[in-house]
């Protein structure tokens, strides 16, 4: 019955779109009639920001991927609105999934292979937890100096592939226990329903720990660009682990090394004789000052609150230090509550600008005691010499301290490489 109804709706929606009255058609899933679909869209049904608020996501698209960057320069608190959550997808179109038709299967090394509908998943015990998600390419050396207005301001296109949401769903451990893990099961590989069949391997220990199958984000259904109707949320780990449009989970006894993880997620390294490090899993402690940051301009000397975000896969942020003199001296910033494990943490520091050149930067320490490295420390760790650092090919897993230079005219510039 449902599939017939939704099939008819789809037909009507397509017909409406063809007739050039597509406005409001995207609301068809709420069960409105074709007649109401043709009405002008009421913007208050899904509220929109003030027309005076201009900053949205930055965008970069290519034939084989789309990237949208969160405008961190305007962020407040720790939650990223779903509409501004970053998106990085390795195909050029998003799947349009009918939730009535969608199934999540758990199979492979399990006693009882199972298929779940969305409604069945929503009947299971749920959890709501606040976690950051970060693309492992966030902060890439290759992004500095990009001068493309469509991509937004520097803090946005260099660091805006991290966002933080309250996710609601079922713990993956609940589903795996329902299916019954077999002896020898040690990894799993999950697959999305997108054109690229995005796939990723997870060790079972992590899957049974805190991984979620999420159907809601910040109190609403997960949006299509975030994986509607279902996605994995793998707390603290590199973004690609959190497979969107999730449809298959296969329990296996070895890492599956699918195309994405073998190619995009490995890094040829100088210190390993040119061999590639792969399977980084975690996103290391990191922080960035979001205001003042590159591309903004201070109107004059006087008081400013320096503010930014810190996060780590290692748990909660325990401390953020801020320097206004390029790292010669540091002051401990205030951490705004809540301070949650594997979530963005907002920090602030009171600052009075004296009108002279200043270099602002922040440094995160997490509850494991790990400290965010400088670019020089990171390079040394990876066997890259200072003279090589500008031409380094390293494009993923960069958590170096980000310096912003405030010039005497108040303009703020990216000072990572200069």
């Amino acid at each position: 019955m449902d599939s017939n109804r939704s099939g008819r709706r789809r037909f009507l929606k397509q017909a409406a779109a063809l007739a050039g009255v597509a406005a409001g058609a995207e609301r068809s899933a709420s069960g409105q009639s074709a007649q109401s679909e043709a009405q002008p869209k009421d913007v208050h049904i899904h509220g929109e920001p003030s027309r005076f608020v201009s900053a949205g996501r930055g965008v970069k698209t290519r034939i084989d991927h789309m990237t949208y960057y969160t405008p961190l320069q305007d962020s407040a608190g720790i939650i990223t609105p779903a509409a501004l959550h970053f998106m990085q997808t390795h195909s050029s179109r998003l799947p349009d999934i009918d939730p009535q038709q969608h199934r999540l299967t758990i199979h492979g090394m399990v006693d009882r292979p199972l298929s779940f509908t969305l409604e069945e998943l929503k009947r299971l015990p749920s959890v709501s937890r606040i976690y950051f998600l970060e693309c492992h390419g966030n902060g890439s050396s290759l992004l500095h100096g990009t001068d493309d207005p469509k991509m937004g301001l520097p803090v946005q296109y260099i660091h805006g592939m991290t966002s933080c949401s309250e996710w609601t769903g079922v713990l993956l451990s609940v589903l795996l226990k329902e299916a019954g893990l077999q002896k020898g099961a040690s990894w799993l590989v999950s697959e999305g329903a997108d054109d690229g069949k995005f796939s990723h391997t997870l060790p079972l220990a992590k899957a049974m720990d805190d991984v979620m199958v999420a159907y809601a984000q910040n109190g609403e259904p997960v949006r299509p660009e975030q994986g509607y109707p279902l996605r994995l949320v793998v707390p603290g780990w590199e973004g690609p682990s959190s497979v969107k449009w999730l449809r298959h989970i296969k329990v296996v006894d070895q890492p599956y090394m699918t195309w994405n993880e073998s190619m995009n997620h490995s890094i040829p390294r100088h210190d390993l004789d040119g061999k590639s490090r792969w399977y980084h899993f975690e996103m290391a402690p990191k922080s960035v000052i979001t205001r003042p940051s590159g591309g903004l301009k201070l109107p004059g000397r006087g008081f400013y609150e320096i503010t930014g975000l810190a996060w780590s896969s290692g748990g909660a942020v325990s401390k953020v230090d801020v320097s206004t003199d390029g790292g010669r001296s540091w002051k401990e910033a205030k951490l705004q509550t809540p301070v949650l494990p594997k979530a963005h943490t907002r920090f602030t520091l009171d600052w009075t600008w004296d009108g002279e050149e200043a270099v602002l930067q922040s440094r995160c320490t997490d509850e494991r005691g790990e400290v965010q490295p400088s670019l020089a420390e990171l390079n040394r760790n990876w066997g890259i010499t200072d003279t090589d650092q500008q031409k380094t090919s390293r494009a993923i897993h960069i958590n170096a301290i980000q310096p912003w230079r405030v010039a005497r005219d108040g303009s703020v510039h990216d000072a990572m490489f200069s």
Binding site: I63, D64, S91, S92, T105, I106, H107, D111, R112, P113, L114, S115, F116, R123, L124, K177, E178, A179, G180, V189, E191, D195, G196, K197, S199, T201, P203, H248, K250, V252, Q254, P255, Y256, M257, T258, W259, S262, M263, I267, P268, R269, D273, G274, K275, S276, R277, W278, Y279, F281, E282, A284, P285, S313, E370, P373, L378, N381, S393, R394, A395
Partner: protein
């Protein structure tokens, strides 16, 4: 003796019952899947190639398919175009590494021969994923391996021979087999 055997048997029955109880479904939601249903969607192929379906193809057959279905994005000989470069080295002359970051898209970078098969089968061509037959996938993989200097032009790839292909970068990854948790002596940003 008999008494203790009886006791042992009852303990075993009890243990089995407890184990059975522990493994039963708590919520009784979700629909059990038959092996036949699973076969209809279980296309992810691991490094051991256990899921590879029957089929065969050669580089010569693959060249035609590549020209029609892949070259528009990846270049005539896989040298790259709107989409990523797939070929490094040349027939008979494989690139043995080290690889630069920009060379990671080349088929010769992949540590296992199954990776190219799996990805092409499920996700390519980008405008119509899953539209290649199994024979066509074997053929396109044979063509790419040949252009990368990994196999000969007349080599036949099938579900057995594909697994025997020696990838030039097989030992180019650290750690050789991914492990979790990683080395506790290194920082997470190592």
């Amino acid at each position: 003796m008999r008494c203790s055997l009886n006791l042992l048997v009852s303990v075993m029955i009890l243990a089995a019952a407890v184990a059975g109880l522990a493994q039963s479904r708590t919520y009784n939601l979700g629909t059990p899947l038959s092996q036949e249903e699973i076969r209809a969607f279980d296309f992810m192929v691991g490094p051991e190639g256990k899921e590879l379906p029957p089929g065969r193809g050669t580089a010569k057959e693959g060249a035609e398919i590549f020209a029609k279905r892949c070259a528009v994005c990846h270049g005539r000989n896989g040298e790259g175009g709107a989409a990523q470069r797939l070929v490094l080295g040349s027939p008979g002359n494989p690139h043995l590494g080290p690889f630069k970051d920009t060379e990671k898209s080349a088929t010769s970078y992949y540590p296992y021969p199954t990776i190219a098969w799996d990805y092409i089968n499920r996700a390519m061509p980008a405008n119509k994923p899953g539209s290649l037959t199994h024979d066509e996938v074997y053929a396109v993989v044979a063509f790419l391996f040949y252009r990368n200097g990994i196999i000969q032009e007349n080599d036949v790839l099938d579900d057995k021979s594909l697994l025997k292909v020696e990838m030039p970068n097989r030992n180019g990854f650290v750690p050789a087999v991914p492990v979790w948790p990683p080395n506790p002596k290194k920082p997470s940003w190592y």
